[in-house]
């Protein structure tokens, strides 16, 4: 809480600094003949920045370093037999020391060394805090006075403030890059650790997925086979695309070419609602409504359809990506130049013939791009398959049976205890890397095709 007060005080001081800067620049302007370089507000901002930023930096650094410093000092001071205890026991003692130091006390009789350590802690904390406050105050006031005195017509305050702003913007835009680097490095790093347990050949070409029976260190002879999971992913995605692509494409064609304005203005946003619904809701829908429906349907026609199967998960996932396919294709179809349609219609083709023989071939690259993006979406989808695919990592080609996918297995291996030393957990990163590479490749190709296509008609 104390920290918040300090931040608040600093902000208030910055507000004052701004005011001082503005006043000072006005008084300077009144005294000199030359025009000031910048408007008063910029002098104010400059003073406020110089007052606040260094103090803030000190505050952040201090708060990061202080606890570990105090900790090491206290541990040094503890009697040797206590200091030799292992990490958890030391932590318990340190917590007791902390609570004695804060005046809350402990319920039993504290040991003498604990009291001594607590005295030292409170002493360190108070001197530490005092010196931090002193340093921050000195920096803030120093920055304030220094900048105030520098205010003159020649000081290019606006440019300085603007360069701070621009630096901030650049820092923000590198965060996206850092995220990608973080993804690649963490995946690669952890996957490498996994490959120390299991050889990449066994992983990428193994046909048996059975992580339970392999013990740590022994590796698994083909137990961590990727192929059943990859095949499950592909099977579910194929079912999803068989639903989503025809329906999405026909929706797009109808919306772009036939639908009257009122229908388009209602149906388009309503169908796009499908894209905004959380995937966990689809999963629940698949589990509770669609799965039992298919099971019943199977009984009626004499087929053995499991309620949780590749079919259930795929159909529901297909419903989810309909709006994805339809809105992308819609954009692409409307981009096909009017002249091409008119030419075809002028030759006497019916509208359907025009669409089939002229518009669609012209739009094909874009539609392929949309298809690839939809495929990458389907491959990376998690919650629907977690709930509705049945989780059975076995190689088979029957869509009515349960399957398991890469994403389901990542979730299964990494929920619960996170143990970053066993191949059972680390395999999730190898699977994640595989998934990342596949979806990245699909996206890059798709975005390339879509962009090329746009250029074609621009």
């Amino acid at each position: 809480m104390n920290n918040w007060i300090m931040i608040g005080a600093l902000l208030v001081l910055m507000g004052f600094a701004y005011q001082f800067g503005v006043l000072r620049s006005r008084s300077v302007a009144a005294r000199v003949v030359v025009r000031m370089h910048s408007r008063p507000g910029y002098y104010g901002l400059l003073v406020a920045l110089w007052c606040g930023l260094p103090a803030l930096a000190v505050f952040l650094l201090w708060s990061m370093v202080e606890p570990s410093m105090i900790r090491s000092v206290v541990i040094e001071q503890l009697p040797p037999e206590v200091a030799a205890l292992d990490g958890n026991q030391i932590n318990v003692i340190l917590r007791r020391v902390e609570s004695i130091a804060s005046g809350f006390g402990v319920s039993d009789q504290p040991a003498a060394y604990e009291l001594a350590a607590a005295a030292r802690v409170s002493e360190l904390q108070s001197t530490g805090r005092l010196s931090m406050v002193a340093l921050m105050a000195a920096l803030a006031v120093g920055g304030l006075v220094f900048t105030l005195r520098k205010i003159s017509p020649a000081l290019r305050a606006r440019n300085k403030v603007e360069s701070v702003v621009q630096t901030l913007l650049i820092v923000c835009s590198t965060i996206a890059i850092l995220t990608t680097i973080g993804i690649v490095l963490s995946m690669l790093g952890e996957a490498m650790r996994f490959f120390q347990f299991v050889s990449p050949v066994d992983f990428f070409f193994g046909t048996v997925w059975n992580p339970r029976f392999s013990t740590v260190g022994a590796g698994g002879q083909g137990q961590f086979g990727l192929l059943p999971l990859l095949w499950g992913t592909i099977m579910v995605s194929i079912v999803a695309l068989l639903i989503a692509v025809p329906i999405g494409l026909m929706t797009a064609i109808y919306m772009a070419e036939y639908a009257p304005g009122w229908l388009r203005s209602i149906a388009k946003p309503v169908i796009e609602v499908l894209a905004g619904i959380p995937t966990i809701v689809y999963g629940f829908f698949a589990l509770v409504t669609v799965g039992p429906f298919f099971h019943g349907l199977g009984l009626a026609v004499g087929l053995d359809i499991r309620a949780t199967s590749a079919l259930t998960a795929g159909v529901v996932m297909g419903i989810m990506i309909i709006p994805f396919v339809s809105s992308l294709s819609d954009d692409i179809i409307t981009q096909v130049p009017r002249a091409m349609r008119d030419g075809s219609l002028g030759l006497g083709a019916t509208k359907a013939e025009t669409i089939r023989n002229v518009v669609l071939p012209a739009a094909l690259p874009g539609i392929v791009g949309a298809f690839l993006l939809a495929a990458s979406r389907a491959i990376g989808e998690t919650m629907i398959v977690v709930l509705a695919a049945g989780n059975s990592p076995v190689l088979h080609a029957n869509p009515f049976e349960a399957v398991s996918t890469v994403t389901v297995t990542i979730v299964n291996q990494l929920t619960g205890d996170l143990d970053f030393a066993s191949p059972q957990s680390l395999v999730a990163f190898a699977l994640g890397l595989t998934l990342f590479v596949i979806t990245l490749a699909l996206n890059v190709v798709a975005l390339y095709i879509v962009r090329k296509y746009r250029e074609q008609y621009e």
Partner: protein
């Protein structure tokens, strides 16, 4: 576009007056019927695809709401309870004495609370029920099953908060057991043989009697919103912890993803020179937007949990992961808004001597604000519906308390839905899960409605 389009199927084929009918013409005439039929089929296929999409939206909402809405009303008993001094035998609550540290007081306080917990609160509840069901006096173990097991702690907490209650009679609301709720709502087949019923025949009979007398009634379930999750007392499992967790994460996403996203969009769109580096950022952002969400979960597990040793299951980690995930969405939305602002605005500002930064912050940004807000709201709404990355950073742990800070263990609404759908008591939790989904959808729909409203209200065409 379809209005102005030529529609050949309706226009009659003009007879070639004055000219000789060629054999080709006859051929065309002959094929027309087939071609027009194909046209109709094609059109019908398109229409049915649209209708299928609409039907799926309707089906999804109807099934979820039909299941979920009744779960907002829950079987509740409203009965007088006597805090009988014969049963509630506890000393007065300890006060701070002279020369006592707060730690010692806390210990005595805990000892007192343990004593209060040791009270046979079940007996208090049983006595209250037996007043209404004298015939149940000999079957205490059975009559207890009418009320969900967590309510004894409810009574205890009432007493701890107000020890004056000792010896008084107060009318309280007690949640009926989950199985009683299922029975009264008809979510289980009433004709099933006893062996397959979840409740013994006596309890079912008592539940019916009390329901007829109005002692048990379907009351709006505040516990659904006020209680955290529970595994021992299923009827009182609520969403409070999940709602708080989601709120914290939403706050973090708003505080991180939105400013950072807008800032980087401004840089990329307005300042950045066209070079290799900015091209790289651009491609990178487009790809990041299409990376599966579960990958962000892996990133969170490896970087935040394993490297930075941040706490498991904490909303702060969830919020950071969701922020990174939302960032590309915000950037792309902001950039397209900035692109739509006509260059004449910028040129006018620059022309009268504004600096580049002044142009952007004084003229371009205010005009882009509605679009940026819309994009940000949609991004945040998307983030709070996300489940998969949260599972990987341990947010699927069972947490029976409401988080006080973003550093405490918590869960989130979508994760709570995931946890509840797996509960064994299917015929109670199917409805409860649907109710949780209704809450989540309500939050998301209202956010999206806000975004649409903003867009409608402030949209400008240049």
């Amino acid at each position: 576009m379809s209005e102005q389009a030529v529609t050949p199927d309706t226009s009659p084929v003009a007879p070639l007056s004055g000219r000789q009918r060629t054999p080709q013409h006859a051929l065309v005439q002959k094929s027309l019927g087939r071609r027009h039929a194909a046209e109709k089929r094609f059109r019908a296929a398109g229409l049915s695809a649209v209708l299928f999409g609409l039907a799926m939206v309707a089906l999804l909402f109807i099934t979820i709401f039909a299941k979920g809405i009744p779960a907002f009303w829950q079987a509740t008993l409203e009965i007088p309870v006597h805090f009988d001094p014969e049963i509630v035998k506890v000393e007065p609550r300890p006060q701070l004495q002279a020369g006592e540290t707060p730690a010692q007081l806390r210990d005595r306080e805990l000892a007192w609370q343990t004593q209060v917990t040791m009270v046979n609160w079940n007996r208090v509840i049983e006595n209250a029920l037996i007043e209404h069901l004298p015939e149940a006096a000999s079957k205490r173990a059975l009559v207890r099953r009418l009320v969900t097991s967590g309510e004894r702690f409810g009574l205890r907490d009432m007493f701890v908060a107000n020890p004056e209650l000792l010896g008084q009679r107060v009318t309280v609301r007690l949640l009926a057991d989950a199985n009683v709720d299922v029975w009264l709502k008809g979510n289980i087949d009433r004709d099933l043989p006893d062996a397959q019923q979840q409740l013994p025949p006596e309890v079912r009979q008592w539940a019916d009697t009390l329901y007829e007398r109005g002692v048990i009634a379907m009351k709006f379930s505040t516990s659904l919103f006020m209680n955290p999750d529970s595994r021992s007392s299923l009827a009182s499992a609520g969403l409070a912890g999940a709602i708080m967790g989601t709120l914290y994460m939403m706050l973090i996403v708003i505080l991180i993803a939105v400013p950072v996203g807008v800032a980087s969009a401004i840089y990329l769109e307005e300042y950045a020179p066209r070079n290799r580096f900015t091209d790289l950022i651009e491609v990178n952002i487009n790809n990041l937007a299409a990376v599966p969400s579960i990958i962000f979960g892996l990133l969170g597990a490896a970087v935040f949990i394993n490297w930075f040793k941040m706490p498991l299951s904490a909303p702060i980690v969830g919020g950071l992961v969701l922020s990174l995930m939302t960032l590309p969405t915000v950037i792309i939305a902001t950039r397209s808004t900035l692109k739509a602002i006509p260059p004449s605005i910028r040129q006018a500002a620059l022309g009268i001597g504004a600096s580049k930064t002044q142009t952007i912050f004084h003229h371009v940004l205010p005009l882009a604000l509605p679009g940026i807000l819309t994009g940000a709201i949609i991004g945040v709404a998307q983030a709070i519906g996300e489940t998969a990355p949260l599972l990987l950073i341990g947010m699927s742990a069972f947490v029976a308390s409401v988080p006080a800070t973003p550093l405490d263990q918590a869960t989130a609404l979508p994760v709570q839905i995931y946890l509840w759908q797996g509960n064994e008591l299917r015929n109670f939790f199917e409805a409860r899960t649907s109710a949780a989904i209704v809450v989540l959808l309500a939050v998301m729909i209202s956010m999206n409605a806000l975004a649409i409203l903003l867009r409608k209200r402030f949209e400008q065409r240049w």
